[in-house]
Symmetry: D2
Subunit: 452 residues, 4 copies
């Protein structure tokens, strides 16, 4: 490729600095699929004979097999995955191979490869998201009647069901799913045939290539097609949001597995010990996941910063998009897999959870709402109950006289407020944790997660 | 609100540190709309009488008018927009006002306000995006026949049309549009009625509230509803991507307005001078836009970092989501407005652009493709032409002998390669810059941007 | 300033978009101090007469007083703080004012203002850091004998003193202090006289200006001087690190103030309630601080992204450096102030802390080290004690027979291991929490924090 | 390590998820140096006999040789570099090896390793910084008399020397150097002996360990010592700033190597071609460097986000600090090396640079300053010259009458203004580009960069 224009070889330092084959080789399947589709379009355009097309397709498939088998020899002096495969093809089949790049640039080629990769990886990650949602749903079903204290500001707030908490995680992951679907739709546009930035004089059937490769649309502007990394940004952002959801879940689990909270215990198979302290059992998997959220955000920042201020069309800076993308994909895949395996092994300390959920202070709001039912305005009720709550006594230990002293509106039936399960039954609005709602949501998710 | 539970007033330092009314007052319209809808649901649930509802609705509308008129007195000791409005209402209408917060928490209230704000601002920004696309389309129509050199790596690459470049910008903005639509869909879910995190014992018709406020769906899990800031992240990300597109456009304009490129000149109305150097005319608007991309990325990072590692449900850290959001919204709105006003005033130096577009070296690829047409393999053709290009002579100044010396495949008709407009006519694949394609794309956009 | 070169006024949209006076007015003191120093250098260079210099100096001081008093009228059409003050000066004193900008550019002027601002704000923040360190030291002195369980992975690990924890915070803040000192040193270089980028033909005594303004050095290259925002980056990074330290401290306090941990209670004056739940008392100040760390990181990212890929010398993008800087400065100042006020009001639940610190499992490592003293290798001892710890019995409740069954090395004196205070006395290496070390460290800090 | 406490093996998924040996093995030299120093302290403390110490030291050195030779077999089930080496040692020398970890935790061990690594890598990077500064200085010397147009806002501003530009780069790199020195000083503190977080009962001579390992100080608080990753942040920030400086330099070079600017040409050895366009020669090395700045900022964000909101002392999230650190170190090392090799090969197009530097418009400021010399106030002079500059004529082509029409202050000697080299001679203030100043700066740098 340098033969014509350049009088000197690339310096070894420059070669080492600029080669990408050490990481972009990961795209070989997509590169080869794209090349076969492209060759078929060249054949339709009369650039390749039917025989040449056959040779190319066969040659590329053999190379693919070699790479998969680990017997292909990569050469960093050939810069990237594209040139390595082209060179191997030409070496293998001669002249026909040297025709493959007609009207094509690495600019549209890499855009294609990355889009194919993105589509595939989204599908993989969606499958793992689904598996984690399944695991959460199973847990919610198993523990659908276990009470737990709900927290805001990490302070006990109101009683709820453990299943209610688990279903909240399902909701967040469902938004991740939706976001990935949107990203996939934006990635699902075929850029090949855009050339370096201005297409080519070859009469390519781009729509035909799109069909072969299963794309919904073709790009409509060749400058935009080689510039556009929006889909990489969208994907990195979607992955960072999954990371944030898992970091939140992890934070909860870490806190709940302290001796002080004591709500859960990780299985020995998903915990680690200390090299120094013999008694320790640590929630390392959750901590690592919380930490890995940092690299997902960092990878997103890398890409956005790379893109910022870049001129239009292809600039070599764009080569730097790949490692961030690969790293975020691998990180999220492994984190989802880990959680799906870890959750079913979790020990739930029902007794401890329910004992705290029965803290009568958690029904202070219900007590205020009881007063509202007796005609007291909510703000006044809030103040009355606030004073009682600060009195030092548990709310259900107050005597009738103490209640009456606080407000005449209190009557005998105030005692009924302190039955936690009844309190939950009253929470019937959509999304609230009445047992019926929990059941309804579990049923809704069972249907939603049914394999299509 | 502190009256019941707390024995001491909040310290002045803490108050100053934690108040949000200095910035969240911006949400007053949404807060009031939400409160009226909520009051109507309380009335349906029997918590408010019809009269009380009327008083509340009227009172809130009067407060809204006061705020809009600038006569409302905000009180930082009341913490936030919610408590300021509630206190003013109760002061104004008494008891009924004190009932408004029944079964509601600021946790679901702020979630509602932010979602209403996000929906509104997306609509505003979409309108400005459309206006900018209109301006670009007009420019593309006006200059549809102006040639320009296309660049990759900021090196002249191939000839194209200026309109082709402008249409590329339209494509990127269209993805922004799509992304905003996706974000809007995810924001369009009604959280009110989720209470602090576990709903309430009030039998609220949440679906009814959603209808009143024009929401498509209601949230399905109250813990998730008060935790969820995904839509803020989605919005900040979408805004950052708009920033990246504008920063790229700006970079192009800055470079093109140098004396050395000389493609465009900013109108005096959109340029600034130097306090020291009398001759200077600077592309400050484009530079500022490129710079503002930094804050858009920074704001996104702020939010993601705030969310990272937070436990579930509401935590006060979430208060920090708003300033980043407001700043990004304002930044993008003003940048879009600026570009829409600035573009029509741009002077295009057609002569300069076309003179560089006529550089015969830019047709080196066409020359190689010419050889392919004569049966030479592309790789070989690439090398042959590369050598010619490095010879020091312009490609169209080579003699027939020189061509023949390079390859026997060259024939008389090689001269036809060097007609730039003909070269562009050959670029007919979808997205490539043949004049027909440019026209087709302009027509497509004219239709797409037609007001519905 | 536009009068000569420009034929049209700046468009209103462009003016609104590009004005900075709405925020850079904050630099007026520094701008005026710089202008007075500059005028004195112009006088020495013979550009201004002694009278003119006096008029300028007096005029500027009067303007400063007006601004401080709030009676100065800012005009956005004059773009920035520099032009507003110059215009007011010229209006006030005529011709002499019009001479002030000789040989000066806003490029070196803003570089100077920002450096003066940075120096001042560092001094302010260092004072607040010191105040917080004082508060921590007082607490450490007050509670120097209170035991607490030390945690790793949020799991109880080993016993220590509460003071040991507090002293750890002092160490981190001391690094912040050091970092600010380094930043100040790098900011303490005088850029005025660099002009737009190439100095001027005026024979300025830049060293003299530096002396007047108290700078240690003058910049050595005028292109670099107008390009350089390293000191802003250094400052934003230093502030982000303070934010990270405070976010860590906050996370500890939030967890310790849960009912489940119960180690501390915030004063009512530094806690807030719930609008819905009457019983709630929330650690909002700590949560907000943890959240504000997000904006500090975001602001740093904004600046770094602005700088990335910018060409050399002054570009208008640099205007975007200021709001991030101001916001981070204000955020850190208020957070430090808040913590200094909040800490002395903290209630320490000594009984709860010590009861958990007495958990015999926390001495598992000491037990292993006991075995090491008896000749067992540490790895073997670790395994032996690990098994005992997993037995379900508290370590100090094991019978002699049970100990012997685990290892022959156990003798009668094993009981002595379980005296927590004695266990701590054995931790004598520098930095370890023996009571003597705690005292020594407290004394060291008392000296270090002594006002000079 | 799990043998005692855990009843089940770690699940394979968890092991894969949490192992770090695949990347932290890079620290083996530092880990082994630390272990030998630690063993010597254990010997002094009587925990190891002299023989045991000898066996350990010899064993570790043999393992180091194996690792260096590539014959060591790493085992992911042993989690990390520390456990791999400890296990190999114990296998090799038996009992003595099992004693090495007495009183040590991986928490203080990894803190030590990272500090040793940071110190070493800073030294490496400083050496490469110095080499790049040398290359820049050589270039400045070689081209010390070449004029170039100086730019602000990428618009031609004033004439200067190319050497002046190059010296500006030297200044920025010198700040990087200083920042690295500050970082090194903060990393140069010895943490070993802090144990898990509370030291140990072993009477360790920590100061002795520090001496052996060449540390200036020992950490003063064991909780802080295992929590602290400030030095990693400092290092990542310093590396990001180097990245920003190189990205700016790259942006300049990319723009200057366009055909339109034509100031420089990259050597063929440091440029690449196009797979499609035979005539292209692209500045890929500079583009990649500009892009790599993105990952350096991203890595910094990763770390800061990991640290944000983490509780005190060691949490497993901290494991995630390493890959970001390694990646930034490698990126900056290779970028510095690349630039040092690329710069001497750059072709400078002196003719083109000087021709543009001679543009008389660039002396508009000098013309205004000329008027100041004739008694005109600068603001008035600025307006007069601004009008002349906008007249469409080159400033030096104006007739005497035209000058007089603009201002009576113009005299015959106005022609002298337009001698560029004389104009530069007048720029004598420190940092300005008079030839004498350039020479003085070159001499200053020659001295500064002299190897000590």
């Amino acid at each position: 490729m340098r033969e014509g224009r350049f009088s000197a070889a690339e310096s070894e330092i420059a070669q080492r600095y600029s080669e990408s084959v050490s990481f972009d080789r990961r795209l070989y399947r997509h590169d080869i699929a794209g090349s076969i589709a492209y060759a078929s379009a060249l054949a339709s355009a009369g650039i390749l004979s039917a025989d040449e097309f056959e040779m190319i397709a066969r040659g590329l498939r053999e190379i693919e097999n070699q790479i998969t088998a680990g017997t292909f020899v990569w050469d960093a002096s050939l810069e990237d995955v594209h040139m390595n495969i082209e060179a191997a093809l030409t070496k293998r089949i001669g002249l026909a191979g040297a025709k493959l790049h007609t009207g094509r640039s690495r600019n549209d080629q890499i855009a294609l490869d990355l889009r194919l990769f993105t589509r595939d990886e989204i599908d993989q990650i969606v499958a793992r998201l689904r598996a984690l949602q399944d695991a959460l749903l199973l847990l919610a079903q198993k523990y659908s009647e276990v009470l737990m204290p709900g927290y805001t500001h990490l302070q006990r707030a109101q009683p709820t069901y453990f299943a209610h908490y688990l279903l909240a995680q399902l909701e967040a992951l469902e938004r991740d799913h939706e976001r990935l679907r949107d990203t996939r739709r934006r990635a699902d546009v075929m850029p090949l045939g855009s050339g370096a930035l201005a297409g080519s004089t070859i009469a390519l059937d781009r729509e035909g290539i799109a069909k072969v490769l299963g794309f919904q649309r073709v790009t409509q502007n060749s400058i935009d097609a080689v510039s556009d990394r929006d889909f990489v940004g969208d994907f990195l952002y979607s992955l960072a949001m999954i990371g944030i959801h898992l970091s939140r879940f992890s934070e909860d689990l870490i806190i709940w597995s302290t001796s002080e909270f004591g709500f859960i215990e990780f299985s020995d198979a998903f915990a680690t010990g200390s090299s120094l302290m013999p008694q320790k059992k640590n929630p390392d998997m959750a901590e690592l996941t919380r930490g890995k959220c940092g690299r997902l955000i960092g990878n997103l920042v890398s890409l956005l910063t790379i893109l910022k201020g870049l001129p239009s069309s292809y600039n070599r800076d764009l080569q730097e998009d790949k490692e961030a993308l690969f790293d975020s994909v691998d990180t999220v895949r492994s984190a989802l897999e880990l959680f799906s395996a870890m959750l079913p092994e979790l020990t739930i300390n029902r007794e401890r959870m329910e004992s705290l959920a029965n803290d009568p202070q958690l029904l202070a709001t219900d007590l205020a709402e009881y007063l509202v039912g007796k005609g007291v305005s909510f703000r006044e009720a809030h103040t009355i109950v606030g004073k009682l709550a600060a009195s030092g006594k548990q709310l259900d230990a107050l005597s009738n006289d103490e209640f009456r002293a606080a407000s005449n509106a209190f009557e005998e039936d105030v005692r009924e407020v302190f039955d936690v399960r009844k309190a939950l039954q009253r929470r019937t609005a959509t999304g609230s944790p009445s047992p019926e709602n929990i059941e309804r949501q579990i049923a809704r998710w069972r249907e939603l997660l049914e394999p299509e």
